[in-house]
């Protein structure tokens, strides 16, 4: 891996989240300066800020893109107890020339009584739906029934998790064998041994979300949680960021066939646990094929985890700052040395004049 570019983000305060759109050509950043910025990648790979606006009256914790099937839509959540949905409107030709675009607020979701800590869009096959979670321990699921009218969102479900919530993750599987499922993590740190990861599943019969599982072995505060993309597997993989990195598999067992039941029971295994960060782990996220997990910790590093073809997980890379300040922003390629070191050793093995091979 190598750092190809660095972009000066120009927020006036700490950045809390950075989000790629589906195709990797746009990105959004959100900050304690209460604003969100949107950046577009040009043909030659340079990034330009095409919008910057105040979104909340408190720090903005997370920002996330909806699937492009719904247009250009963002959601943000904040300390100000609200989450908001934004849509880009195609501007006047003047704006286009200046490379600017406009985002308008379509709705504000005000049901939470405390800081909203995470917001995530549901998988696209569920329609235009999103979930928020708050420090008040409630997960709220909203839906926009008319995809062309983003100002109408209705609160479909309120899930009371009893513990302050820090993160949510939708199961991306669109298989008919799997009901919609959402995992919730709690960063509650009062002394107790309650499970800090809960899994809720949608029940077709009751038309409600009910708790399917709680990961009893996770009792430390959880900061982030992420389902892996499903590669056609019958079971689910869930990564948890807590005092270490943990990877669980959840194998659905036979569904209980009761009259109001229908909840899946799961066989839960922990397939990996890493404490290499040597500190709290704050973020976990899967790549698009669900083959590499990245984690970020208090040690200021991002670590990459991958399973080999024998399903053994190990760390395959570390991203780490070196403390030396960057001079402004560099949109030029930065070829770093670590990649070269492996090659250099191979090169050294070949003796001297390999560069001047048969010149006849």
């Amino acid at each position: 891996m190598f750092v190809a570019r660095s972009i000066a983000a120009d927020h006036r305060d700490l950045i809390h989240d950075v989000s790629f759109d589906f195709h990797g050509r746009r990105m959004a950043t959100c900050s304690s300066d209460q604003s969100v910025k949107v950046w577009d990648k040009s043909e030659n790979g340079d990034w330009h800020c095409t919008a910057s606006w105040k979104t909340h009256s408190g720090s903005v914790w997370r920002v996330t893109w909806a699937h492009p099937e719904f247009g250009q839509v963002l959601a943000s959540c904040s300390f100000d107890r609200t989450a908001a949905v934004w849509e880009e409107i195609v501007g006047e030709s003047n704006d286009k020339l200046r490379g600017q675009s406009h985002w308008v607020k379509r709705t504000t979701l005000v049901d939470s009584r405390t800081s909203v800590t995470d917001v995530k869009f549901a998988p696209k096959h569920m329609g235009l739906m999103l979930a928020t979670c708050s420090a008040d321990g409630v997960v709220r699921i909203y839906e926009a029934p008319d995809v062309m009218n983003l100002s109408q969102w209705s609160l479909q479900h309120e899930i009371s998790c009893k513990l302050s919530c820090s993160c949510i993750s939708w199961n991306p599987s669109s298989s008919r064998a799997h009901s919609p499922m959402i995992a919730v993590g709690s960063d509650d740190n009062s002394p107790n041994i309650l499970a800090k990861v809960q899994i809720y599943e949608y029940n077709e019969n009751t038309r409600k979300y009910a708790k399917a599982e709680a990961l009893m072995t996770v009792t430390d505060p959880v900061h982030d949680i992420a389902f892996a993309p499903n590669l056609g597997r019958s079971f689910h993989i869930l990564a948890v960021a807590t005092k270490d990195v943990r990877i669980f598999t959840l194998k659905p067992l036979r569904k209980e066939l009761t009259s109001s039941g229908g909840l899946t029971k799961f066989e839960i295994h922990i397939v990996a646990q890493f404490d290499n960060h040597n500190s709290q782990v704050w973020r976990v996220s899967w790549n698009i094929t669900g083959t590499v997990l990245a984690s970020s910790g208090d040690d200021g590093c991002v670590r990459l985890w991958k399973a080999n073809y024998m399903d053994n997980w190990k760390c395959t890379g570390i991203l780490k700052g070196n403390g030396s300040p960057v001079n402004g922003s560099s949109q030029q390629g930065i070829f770093n040395t670590s990649l070269g070191s492996a090659n250099a050793s191979l090169q050294n093995s070949l003796n001297g004049s390999s560069a001047s091979r048969k010149q006849s």
């Binding site: 809390h16 996220s285 910790g297």
Partner: protein, 632 residues
């Protein structure tokens, strides 16, 4: 297979300070974003300096223009290998696979040449060194691949094995040409200071004819050594080598060789070469004297050259399985105490030991991208060499590596197309990987979208087709390109969206009195049936056309059909009725009669409208549709 205990590579993020901040991140399809932040309860600290977002990429190599040929041409070879008919006869199949291997190698060499040219013409010293590094890496790859071809693909038996290894050494290891040219082109070759070096090298590489040719020059220049020369020349001429064809058995050859070896021994012991240390050393080399050979360490430069020379002069009928012993001891003798094996040495050693998995594993670690191991493993799998090893992952390893390689290609704006074929030939996960990757390809232009669609349609990836069309339709709609939006929705078979866009068209029409994108609407054909609203749109436009062509009876019939078929939106009823008005004036139109057959409550309204017909103000308010014969 046990894991290597290598430290994971560290990628430096310049500017981020792990002592002061942490990093938040997000994966993208081709890149990763990193940003400095502070997690957890904030103590009012702020990171110093402007906040930066870092864009991180996995594989640098795919962005090198000069490697493009490698990726493109090897793709052709790969696909050819997967698709070609397997020869029945073992020998023919073997020949087929050897040819494939040679093709791969020639691609590597071609790329090396290009890279070398690029290095020479690079004005920037950093760029020059980068290219030079690449040349070395490609060279190493070809070296390894060639050895694997000899040992695994061709599986050369004792006899030919040595000949192949000699070729290998000559081709790859020692760069003698400069030295040779220098010596041969000089006035007095035998007086050149490098003369004996060149003779020695020829001997070490088994290039007897060339060695003898040079020696003859020495003999001419130095008549006193004529006797010694004649004997040495004769010995060199007579040296038995494994034959190329099967003209002699190994046993025959070994016998001959034994006799020859003894003859050399006698001459040496008789002191025949005592007065020329050079010639004596050559004789010792011919006898396989390890110390004598090791003295020429600087000329051989590598332990594997030493290995082959040793074999040539001590055991030319070496069997493949015996190689490992000679290899290990050669490396130990050559490197001695001073140096330890480098990655390349370990890889080659693993090959000599026939540890295929070790070779692949070591290469995966040493090389920065998956190109090499993916293609080599695939070839070895076709040679049916992976099945016999471990039950868990024979061809799984092939697929694992191909998936890695192809995934890497998808982060490139045009190389992704090559990746599609690789996924196609991964039976277990290829399809789902393709689905996940292909839907992320940015659809910058309509052509690109169509290209991606074609790939998805060919593979019956219906959901991806639908999704891509929907994304394009949405994009068009946002930019008010209704025609484009409509055709994309039709392609997506998205009835709801088609209805929505048809409504927009109709709304536009009401506001402006005319249609946009007539070509599209006129040529909807059977796709008109996708949604009622779309059907209505198509038929309504047809009504206008008929009217414009003065085919009033047909127009009237169509209008009637539209009114009774219940596909018109309520908001449009007034418009339809208004459209009917001018038709009533047409004598040929027997609308009223037709209408009277209908038991339609609307009939009353219709008649009421007819009465309004006489009021000019109503007519003028009815818009310009039926009032003029020019509709557009």
């Amino acid at each position: 297979m046990e894991e290597l205990d290598t430290e994971p590579p560290v990628t430096v993020v310049p500017g981020a300070d792990p002592a002061r901040t942490q990093l938040c991140f997000e994966w993208g399809p081709a890149e990763m974003l990193l940003c400095e932040t502070l997690f957890g309860p904030r103590g009012g600290e702020r990171p110093r300096g402007p906040s930066c977002v870092f864009v991180v990429r996995r594989d640098q190599d795919i962005y090198m223009e000069t490697l493009r040929k490698l990726f493109n041409e090897s793709h052709g070879i790969f696909v050819g290998l997967q698709r070609c008919e397997e020869e029945r006869a073992v020998r023919a199949r073997n020949a087929q696979l050897i040819q494939v291997s040679k093709n791969y190698r020639s691609v590597i060499r071609a790329c090396m040449e290009d890279m070398h040219q690029a290095a020479i013409s690079a004005r920037d010293s950093a760029l020059h060194s980068q290219y030079s590094i690449q040349v070395s890496i490609l060279s190493a790859m070809e070296l390894i691949w060639n050895l694997c071809e000899i040992l695994f693909v061709e599986a050369a038996p004792a006899g030919p094995l040595l000949l192949r290894l000699l070729d290998w050494v000559q081709l790859h290891i020692c760069d003698v040409d400069n030295m040779v040219r220098e010596v041969l082109s000089s006035e007095n070759p035998s007086k050149h200071k490098l003369f004996w070096n060149v003779v020695d090298i020829f001997v070490l590489q088994g290039r007897m004819d060339e060695a003898r040719h040079l020696l003859s020059k020495e003999a001419i220049a130095n008549p006193t050594s004529m006797n010694m020369y004649k004997i040495l020349d004769d010995l060199m001429k007579k040296m038995p080598v494994p034959s190329v064809g099967n003209t002699q058995t190994l046993t025959e050859m070994e016998l001959k060789w034994q006799h020859w070896h003894e003859e050399c021994q006698r001459y040496l012991q008789d002191g025949t070469f005592a007065s020329s240390s050079h010639m004596e050393s050559i004789c010792k080399i011919l006898l396989g004297d390890e110390n004598a050979i090791l003295e020429k360490k600087e000329l051989m430069t590598t332990w594997y050259h030493f290995l082959v020379t040793r074999l040539l002069y001590s055991h030319p009928t070496v069997k493949p399985m015996e190689l490992r012993f000679y290899a290990q001891s050669s490396m130990d003798m050559f490197l001695g105490e001073e140096s330890s094996p480098e990655p390349l040495d370990t890889i080659l050693m693993a090959a000599f030991e026939f540890e295929l998995h070790q070779v692949i594993k070591e290469c995966s670690v040493a090389l920065s991208n998956w190109w090499f191991v993916a293609h080599l493993t695939d070839l070895l799998d076709h040679c049916k060499l992976l099945q016999s090893h471990n039950l868990y992952f024979g061809s799984n390893m092939r697929e694992f590596l191909l998936l890695e390689y192809a995934s890497g290609l998808f982060s490139h704006h045009s190389l992704w197309q090559l990746g599609v074929d690789y996924f196609d030939h991964c039976p277990e996960y290829g399809r789902v990987y393709l689905e996940l990757h292909i839907e992320r390809i940015p659809l910058n232009t309509e052509q690109k979208a169509l290209k991606v669609l074609r790939i998805c349609e060919q593979r019956q990836m219906h959901e991806q087709v639908r999704s891509i069309c929907k994304i394009m339709a949405m994009k068009a709609l946002r930019n008010n390109r209704l025609g484009s939006a409509l055709s994309w929705s039709i392609r997506a078979k998205d009835a709801a969206f088609a209805t929505l866009i048809s409504d927009r068209f109709l709304k536009d029409y009401c506001e402006r009195g005319r249609f946009s994108d007539l070509d599209l609407i006129d040529n909807l054909g059977p796709s008109m049936l996708l949604s009622d609203r779309l059907t209505f749109l198509g038929k309504y436009r047809e009504f206008h056309r008929l009217y414009g062509e003065k085919r009033f009876s047909e127009a009237a019939r169509l209008l009637l059909m539209l009114m009774t078929a219940h596909i018109a939106p309520c908001s449009f009823w007034m418009t339809l009725l208004t459209d009917a008005l001018p038709l009533l004036e047409q004598k040929e139109v027997r609308m009223l009669q037709s209408l009277s057959t209908l038991n339609v409550p609307r009939l009353g309204l219709f008649i009421a409208v007819q009465e309004l017909h006489s009021t000019p103000s109503v007519l003028s308010r009815a818009g310009g549709i039926g009032m003029t014969s020019n509709l557009e």
